[in-house]
């Protein structure tokens, strides 16, 4: 039985903000199916009562002194916008995201 269908590949691509050609969908369905099949081996392990590891080295939440000087100043706006594909004054410009209907 296959682990993933081409429809699931298309849905996942939408979630990942990727546009895939039909050829890519076909190839990825085959490749992801093989990879997910390999990952089946994890099902053979008993993980009941095991806590998940999110970080390999346990960390306390570090706190710095609550003063502005503790870190270097942030990037000046002009420098931060230097590589922007499109800017408007002190902002990144993007396509309109609000549809206005009369």
């Amino acid at each position: 039985m296959s682990k993933i269908t081409s429809d699931e590949v298309r849905q996942t691509a939408t979630l990942a903000r990727l546009e895939l050609s039909d050829g890519e969908v076909h190839r990825l369905t085959r490749e992801l199916d093989a990879i997910l099949g390999y990952m089946e081996s994890l099902a053979s392990l008993d993980v009941s009562g095991v806590e998940p590891t999110t970080h390999a080295v346990p960390l306390d939440m570090p706190l710095r002194d609550d003063v502005l000087e503790a870190l270097e100043p942030h990037l000046p706006v002009d420098l931060a916008l230097l590589d922007a594909p499109k800017r408007h004054d002190a902002f990144f410009e993007v396509p309109k995201i609000i549809e206005v209907t009369e």
Binding site: A16, I35, Y38, A56, V57, L59, L82, P85, F92, K96
Partner: protein
């Protein structure tokens, strides 16, 4: 014997003793790059003017009698995911083509502070995803030992540049073996430090619970010089460890009498006969040097690849969400915001990056999360516990680094799963967060073979001691590829 034949430590000492000027050293390396990198293609870009200016500054400090820093005048290359102020940084991806970072990341900054001469940016698999450097959007690197073969990956440019003497040392990153595997395949020495030992501020992220920065050199001592300069806590990286940074240079000279070296027989059994014989010989050398060999087993680590490729891709799918065409890098216009995102990402990412984003997004989908991501993280706990138990009985574990010598360009590009299986011996170390080093231990089919040394968390000094003793007793690390 020219200066580029030596290792980083020798270059640093010669400049400090003023036997040679930093400017002469930089010129010699730049000349070597000009002569042979057209074939190897280790560099994306060489910052000749910047390198010469940094070298002159070191010479001026030396002339004034000032301390120019541990790495004064030493030419170092950076994998192209280290953010460098004013110098294009692409992470091997078309989506970042032309990006000129407005700041230096902490590793770049610390190298400069230590007096290193940053020569340029080195080729890599796109976003550090790959084991052969063939996923670079700007063409693959060739292995200096045989230019029809891969240098390993993802830090393939770093490894090949050090092997070929284009730089005295280099930095890479290692998420599942991306320093150790290319080190093994190019006959260089490479170290993945303990998770958190080196700051990742200004290092392009792949999988944040696994990524770690580390050095390449010709010897353990070379790596010690580099790690000494870059290790330590950084207020800009909350995951960087606060533990004091020990004297890694001194650690390289420590005796290893009575040290317990763990051997994982089931890993050696995965090798062909010639590779197994080389690794066994390395174990015997360690024994002759006073170490005691002890068998250990790591059965859960057999599942490392499966756990890793879920965790790493899940984290990557989240990390790479930032490449959306809004703030920097490529933008492909679309009729609305979502269309712009999708077009930009589809045009900017290569096949392997898309594959991993897809895999990671799938593993995180509701309904699949428990079966994949959560289960993988629990398996990760089992692997960590397994190493903790092993390090109760031994001080260090010695294993092969890679399951084969360098393979041919194109040999595995059609089969992603076959490529993933290359990481079988390197991945458990990342999942456990422990340090790992690869040192050259011989040749098979005239190609270098690596021995991997694993230590407990913050056990870098022990790895340096073992590797230092081994390299005083052997000369594999001094072999050079054909000019």
């Amino acid at each position: 014997m020219t200066i580029t034949d030596g290792g980083l430590a020798e270059v640093a000492q010669a400049i400090r003793a003023r036997q040679v000027s930093a400017a002469e050293v930089t010129d010699a390396y730049l000349a070597r790059i000009a002569a042979i990198d057209g074939t190897l293609k280790c560099f994306y870009r060489v910052d000749e003017a910047g390198a010469r200016a940094q070298a002159r500054a070191v010479d001026e400090r030396l002339a004034r009698g000032e301390d120019p820093g541990l790495l004064a005048g030493v030419p170092v290359g950076l994998k192209d995911l280290f953010v460098t102020e004013g110098l294009e940084t692409t992470a091997g991806s078309k989506i970042l083509e032309g990006w000129i970072p407005p700041y230096d990341g902490t590793p770049s900054k610390k190298l400069k502070q230590a007096g290193a001469v940053l020569v340029g940016k080195l080729s890599m698999d796109e976003f550090a995803m790959g084991s052969s450097n063939e996923n670079s959007a700007y063409g693959p690197v060739r292995n200096p030992w045989d230019t029809t073969r891969v240098p390993g990956g993802s830090s393939g440019g770093s490894a090949a540049a050090v092997a070929a003497g284009l730089v005295a040392g280099a930095l890479g990153t290692d998420t599942g073996g991306s320093i150790r595997q290319p080190a093994a395949l190019t006959g260089t020495t490479g170290l993945k430090p303990t998770y958190g030992r080196v700051s990742r501020y200004g290092v392009v992220a792949f999988a944040s619970s696994l990524d770690q920065v580390g050095p390449f050199g010709r010897s353990a001592l070379d790596c010690a010089y580099l790690l000494q300069a870059i290790a330590g806590h950084d207020a800009h990286d909350a995951t960087s460890l606060g533990s004091p940074v020990p004297d890694y240079l001194a650690a390289c000279a420590r005796p290893i009498d009575g040290l317990r070296v763990g051997i994982v027989r089931s890993w050696v059994a995965k090798l062909d006969r010639e590779l197994a014989a080389l690794v066994e010989e390395a174990f015997n050398t360690l024994e002759r040097l006073g170490a005691r060999l002890v068998d250990v087993t790591l059965p859960t680590s057999e599942h490392g690849i499966a756990a890793y490729y879920i965790i790493a891709t899940a984290e990557a799918s989240s990390n790479l969400a930032r490449y959306d065409g809004v703030r920097y890098g490529l933008r492909v216009p679309g009729e609305n915001l979502n269309a712009m995102y999708a077009r930009t990402r589809s045009a900017g990412f290569g096949d392997e990056v898309k594959r991993r984003i897809m895999l990671g997004t799938y593993a995180l989908r509701s309904g699949y999360y428990d079966a994949y991501y959560l289960r993988a993280q629990k398996v990760r706990t089992l692997i960590r516990n397994e190493f903790a138990r092993a390090f109760g009985a031994v001080d260090v574990i010695a294993t092969p680094t890679a399951p084969s010598v360098a393979f041919k360009l194109g040999e595995k590009t059609d089969d992603p799963l076959a490529m993933y299986l290359n990481d079988v011996f390197t991945i458990p170390c990342n999942l456990a967060g422990i340090p790992g080093m690869s040192v050259p231990c011989g040749f098979s089919q005239s190609l270098p073979v690596g021995l991997q040394l694993l230590g407990p968390a913050l056990g870098e000094e022990t790895l340096f001691a073992v590797a230092g003793a081994y390299q005083r007793a052997t000369d594999w690390h001094t072999r050079r590829p054909p000019a």
